[in-house]
Chain length 194, copies 2
């Protein structure tokens, strides 16, 4: 197997959920670096008929804290507030991923025979963007966890992004304190049929 | 940026739709190599609560031809038969991606408060598996295109795979004849808010 293929597979295997973060960036990593990486992934991840409906923003500092405060306030009960409180206080920032719904509607109108396929394809492409951004950030030495407080985050964003951008997830990032533990895997062979 | 991060981003950027294929594998690539790569990606792509609902098989030879013959026969009109005919005759084989629905149902039952989240997460994780398998195969020198003849392929598979495996896509692979042309991109900045 080529070195490139192996490096690619290793990057995917090294991506893990890291909840224990401090709100700092590793040495030699800037928010601009994170921006460039997410930008490259969004640009080059395929979309149905090159529809390009993936969107993202990066929030840090006060904006990050304001958004997570809104999420914390939107959740009833102390137990449910723990994770967004950790996101607010222990993550340096987060990447918020969106799907631009007007694009989906336009392609559904332009290609009515494939109308039902565009939302399915949009779910697949945002999945690749989210998970690959996570992987890329881990190759940069960051720790990350992916959250889905989508309704509360959408409400907190207000008019910071267009109304047509629906929220898919929040990739919280910072410096890793404790590495991930072991992960269990089912037996899941990929069989070949000739 | 580290070499690993750059290699990872380059792999993603080099993945393209290649329709002009011959039904051969590049030198030094075997079906077992493809199997190992897809296996690694399925194993290491995250799923909600580690639910592990991604499945895949690889078909080549007679099985590949039989499945695409069924698809060709299921499609009315000569024009619609062109792409599956090309898949049958010009691809060496394909990776078929599935979601195991009994797993989703079990997690929905075990975590009723998050029931609606599992199908959404399943769409995201299969997207990453499909697109990253495509990327990995391109790092191995293969050309690929991703098809979605899901109903016809599911019917053609019969009891080769369990009934609970729903088909997401078919990644057709072979040797590249003509490289991809230029691709156009919208202006899609990832803004930072502090």
């Amino acid at each position: 197997m080529s070195t490139t293929t192996q490096t690619y597979l290793n990057a995917i295997a090294n991506r893990r959920t890291i909840y224990n973060l401090t709100d700092a960036l590793p040495q030699n990593v800037s928010v601009s670096d994170i921006q460039a990486v997410v930008q490259s992934i969004i640009k080059n991840t395929p979309t149905a008929l090159n529809s390009q409906e993936n969107r993202a923003i990066i929030v840090t500092g006060n904006t990050h804290k304001k958004i997570w405060n809104s999420v914390i306030n939107a959740i009833p009960g102390e137990n449910g507030k723990k994770r967004p409180t950790s996101a607010r206080d222990e993550a340096y920032g987060c990447v918020i991923f969106f799907t631009e719904q007007n694009t989906i509607k336009k392609f559904q109108k332009d290609y009515p025979a494939a109308a039902s396929a565009f939302p399915v394809a949009a779910s697949a492409t945002t999945g690749a963007v989210q998970i690959n951004s996570w992987t890329a950030l881990e190759t940069m030495g960051l720790g990350c966890h992916l959250q889905h407080y989508n309704d509360a985050v959408r409400a907190a964003l207000g008019d910071l992004v267009p109304e047509s951008w629906t929220v898919n997830s929040q990739l919280c990032f910072g410096s890793q304190v404790i590495p991930a533990g072991d992960k269990t895997f089912i037996d899941n062979p990929v069989n070949i049929y000739n």
